[in-house]
Structures are given as C-alpha cells and as structure tokens.
C-alpha cells in the first residue's frame, strides 16, 4: 500500500471533486480516495503497483488536470 498526494487543477465546485473521486476509484488497485475541492488536493491510497500515470489519466478523464504528485 502506498499513499499518493495529487494536486489537481480545474475543479470549480464540490460536484467536480465527486467526479474526480469517482474516476480515481475506478483505477484498479486504488483502495481509498478523498479529493477536496477546497484545497485542490487528492489523497489516494493504492497498491504499490498503481502508477502515477494511471491516476493522472483518471483525473484527466474527469476533465481536470494533475499538476503535482507526491
């Protein structure tokens, strides 16, 4: 298990955070997600095999952009 912190740009309202969460949850290996519209941060708990790329893609799918990964 690992924890990844994403900085996400482009979310205007709380519904956006929900959409981003939904997409991130779909990524295989992702266990827990919490995205905050107020801080533009997303915390993902996932198996070690999950790549940053797949998370970025999921966020892009939701219509937003990952600008930072930690």
């Amino acid at each position: 298990m690992k924890k990844i912190k994403l900085t996400i740009e482009g979310m205007h309202c709380a519904a956006c955070a929900g959409i981003a969460e939904k997409e991130l949850r779909k990524v295989p290996g992702v266990k827990e997600v919490s995205v905050s519209v107020t801080t533009n941060k997303g915390f993902v708990y996932a198996e070690d095999s999950v790549s940053e790329e797949s998370l970025k893609k999921a966020v892009a799918e939701a219509g937003y952009k990952v600008v930072g990964v930690k």
Partner: protein, 644 residues
Amino acid sequence: MEESVEAREIRGWKLKLVWAWVLTIPIMLIMYSGMVFGIEIVPMKYMPISLLILGFPVIFIIGWGTIKAGTRGFFKLRFSMDSLISMGTIVAYATGFLAFFELTQDYSGVSSMIMTIFITGKFIESKARGQASKEIKKLLELGAKKAVVLRGKKEVEVPIEEVGVGDIFIVKPGEKIPTDGVVTRGESTVDESMVTGESLPVDKTVKSHVIGATINQDGVLYVKASKVGDDTFLAHIIELVEEAQGTKIPIQKFADSVTNVFVPIILTVAVLTFIGWIAATGDWSRSIGVGISVLVIACPCALGLATPIALMVGSGMGAKKGILIRKGEAIQTMKEIKIIVFDKTGTITKGKPEVTDVYSVLKKNEASVIEKTAALEKLSEHPIGKAIVEYGNLSKFKNVTKFKILRGRGVEGVLDKKKMLIGNTALMKERNVDISKIKEVLEEYETGGKTTMIVAEGGKVIGVIAVADTVKEESKKVIHYLRRQGFRTVMITGDNERTAKAIAKQVGIDEVIANVLPEDKSNKVKELQKRGMVAFVGDGINDAPALKQANVGIAMGTGTDIAIEAGDIVLASGSLRGVPQAIVLSKATFGKIKQNLFWAFAYNVVAIPLAIAGFLHPVIAEIAMALSSITVVTNANLLRRKRI
C-alpha cells in the same frame, strides 16, 4: 509551490473577468441605451449582428473553459454546474440567429451578461475561498527557508533543502528554528504557539527536542537535526490537515446525493418549463426566457460547497490552536457525546514522576535529605531517581563510593564515610532498618497515591521522599468545566484502585475504572458505549485501539511527536485544554455547516419555482445564483467570529 493552483485560479478568473466586462459593457450599452436614454448607438437594424459579434468571444473564448466542461458533460452524461451555464448561454446566444427571422426575442446580449456575471461570481467566490483557507495557507508557509549550519568550524547559511539529518545548525535569538532536532549546546526559551497552539514559551536546554518553524527567543541554540523535509512535525501537521479536507461528514451525504441528481433534474425541469409555457402562452420569446432563467438560477455549487468550505474554515481555526481535525465526521459526532473517558497517565497526569513531599526525621533537615539522596540517585537511571535529582536541582554532587543498584528495591552506596540505603519498605526490612518512627508518614503518603522512598543513613532512617505522577496544571479546571457542561467524566488506568482514586479526587472526576490492562481499554470503552456516545482522550501510541473504538477519539500529542494514525482529532500541544476547545470548535463548525446547507437548500427551493413561474429575468436569475454561492462561502468565513 503548493498553493499556486489556487493563486493561478484566482488570476485566471480575474483575467476572464476583465475581458468579459470589456466586451459586455458595450453589449449592455447597445441593448439598453435606446430604451433608457433614447439614443441608438448602433442602428436598430444592426443590433442583432453586433450583439452576436461582441458576444461570441465572451461565450466561446473567455467562457471556453465552462462551455467545454459543460458540453463534455452532455456527451459523458456527467453533469455539473458548467452544464447548466453552457446550456443556458448557448440557447440564449442561439436566439440571436433566430431573431434574424423574427422568430423570437433576441437573448444573445443576455447570454453574454449571464456568462460575465457567472465569471464575476466565480472570481469573488475564489477570493472568498482563498480567505477561507487562510490559516491552512499560513501553515504551509510556516516552514523556515534557510538554516545556518556548522560545516567544520564555519557557520554557513544554506537553503533548508540542504540540511540533512545529523547536521548541527545554529539558531540565534529571534530566529526561526529551521527543522526538528535535539539541542546539543545552549539554553533558551522557544515560542511553539504557531505549531502546537501552546501560548507559553517552552524552556529548552541540552537534550531538549525542538520543533522546526518555532521561534527561538532569548539564547543561542546549537541543534542537531533529527528530522527533515516530509518527516518533520510541521510537515505531518500540514498533511493531516490537508487530508482531512476530503473526508466526508455524514450530513453532507444527503447534500451530495442531491447534487448528483440535481443537474439532470434541472435540465429536465427547464425543458418541461419551456414546453409548458409554449403550450400555455404560445409565446416563444417568453418561454425561452423562462427556460433560460430556470437553467441558470439553479445552484448546485452552493449545496456542494456548504460543507467542505465550513470544514476548511473550522479546521484552519483549529490548526492555529493546535487542534487538528483528522476526520470530518468527528465534528458531527461530537455533539452527541455524553461520556468523556480520559486515560490517566500522560493525559490527566504528566506521565512522569515528580517529587511531591520530603519528610525529614530531624527538623528542618529536608535539604540535606534531598542532597544526600540526589548524590546517590544521580548514578541510577531509574525514573524515580531522575525525579529526585531534578527536584534537588543541585549544581554539585557529593562523591559516592561503592554504589550499587538493588533492582526493584532501591540503591545503596557510601557517602561521607557513612553507609546510605535508599529504597522501599521491603528493602528496609531486609536490612533490619527500623521504620516504626515513620509509619504514619508512609501511610499518609501512600493513601495519597504516592510512591515512597525511605532514606537511611548508617542503618537509621533520616527521611522519606514521596514521588508521584502529578496531575497537569490544567486537568482540574478542564474536568470541572466539562462536568458543568453536562458530560460524564471517566478516568481509566492500569493503576491500582487506591492510586487511581487519589488522582481522581484531585481532579474531581466522576468515575474511575482502575486495574485495566492496556489491551482491555477498548473493551471498557465498548461497555461505556452502552450508556451513550463516548469520546476517548489518550495518547495515540498505547491507546490506539481505544481511540478507534470510541465514537470520537482525541489523541494527545506529546509536544514533539504526533501519532498520525490514531484519533479523529489530534491535540498537537498535548494540553488537556484542547479538549473543551475541540468540543466548542466542532459544535460551532457543525452549526455553520447546518446553516449553510439550510440556506443552500432554501435558496434553490424558493428560487427555482419563482423562475419556473416566470418572475425572474435570466440576468436577475444569474445574479441570484452567483450571490447564493458567494453567500455560502462568506457565511463559512463568519465562523471565525467564534472564540475557541
């Protein structure tokens, strides 16, 4: 930098705002000057085409972000605020073409106005959101940027990133301590309020732990870095606060489920409204106008933002005082709490023994008893020994020979050619030391829950030193306050009944559960839960299961370390005063959330029917919408008025 996303967004909205108004003001002049001033800036004939030309960049260039996200939503069946605004503005803009054929009234100018007001609202909202995250941002910027490090014998100033574990850095008075570490040389007091919320400066000497980002006050400190970068106390606090923002509060679930279906419902309602109006009046212009009003007045944003924005303001306020909300849920549960359970050691008490009484057989000879005892105990590593040495606070110690630790019983040695024996009753009996003279003293101390050390010199008792884990200064006051607030207070401990009762009496706690093994604490919490919701206050390391079992777990930090994994709320300062503060803060924040949700719902419940009934012009509708989400954010900011 971390916070640039938000700053960039505000800048983005600002740029859009300026250009949108630059184009929309002429649009408004063209539309209304004839009506208001009787002057036609553009001949009537050319009005529709000029509105379409001026309006195009407003909707499709400046508003592209919204239009793109909104129309994308239609293809993916994932609707948001943007979907409503896109549909509203595109339909309105399209009427500009229909107007050529005089099929309907021209709403294309209105379309630009809607987009511009929407952008203005977003700009104001993003500013207010920035305001709401003020405290959290301050936390992010708290860390030191530079450090003065000892390289060989030279003092070199380096950027903070270059400080490694084990480096010695120098902190002068008034300077920020660059990172966590242990003092190797020097003495000073340090202001830790910005990180732990503890308002009194803390004394630091050799071996003291210091926290990065706190301010050194009067002496020069040489500190060996123990943690850097993401491992520091401050970094943990920041992460904890940031992560908490995305956690869900139960009350929000309803709002979220409404938000999820809200937009599709509104889209349907708008279409039905339009059809209804056509059927009833046959007036295309009017029907389109009403339809647009319905689209743009609905405000899922206010609903969705009501909870997280209040949580953000609340947790920011808490962080400033060293109260870290880890789980949003805790602030809702807090108002249901009936019983507060405190762990004894380290929570109600300081968690380390201190000398409470010194008794001397000879009158006024206490200082000598301490002096002699300290000389021996200096050589022992036992916590009780340390407490005696600390209490004595001597600069010189007498020479002791033939020192020996008698495990579990005491110590012995020779001092000034006399044989010294320090220890418990068992030891005295073993060495045939007569303790009948001090029997009463021993009894008195032991009933008070204290541990006694008998001091004998040359086979005769010369005094008794009582040691106890003393209660924190604030414990009594805090527990008194909580009881007055109607909470049932309970203390749980592994100590025996007598010691536990003595402490309980000192702080005035309602109920004591003694002789509890550490692993049984969570079971005791479970039992108490049959009587009502339970909050557990304890340290995050030994009490983790009990913290988890409780409805609200409040973990006490130890000042330099916080147990991130346990507890719904973490008190960074390790002061019990944080408990009532956390309760007040939770209740105030939750109250604000309820208020926000009420207004957001009420707004939609009132405004949407008014729009359907045709009372609101689309521009008025858009203004109302923008105001409603600004109101929610502003209202959340008002939480700061509450003193915690």
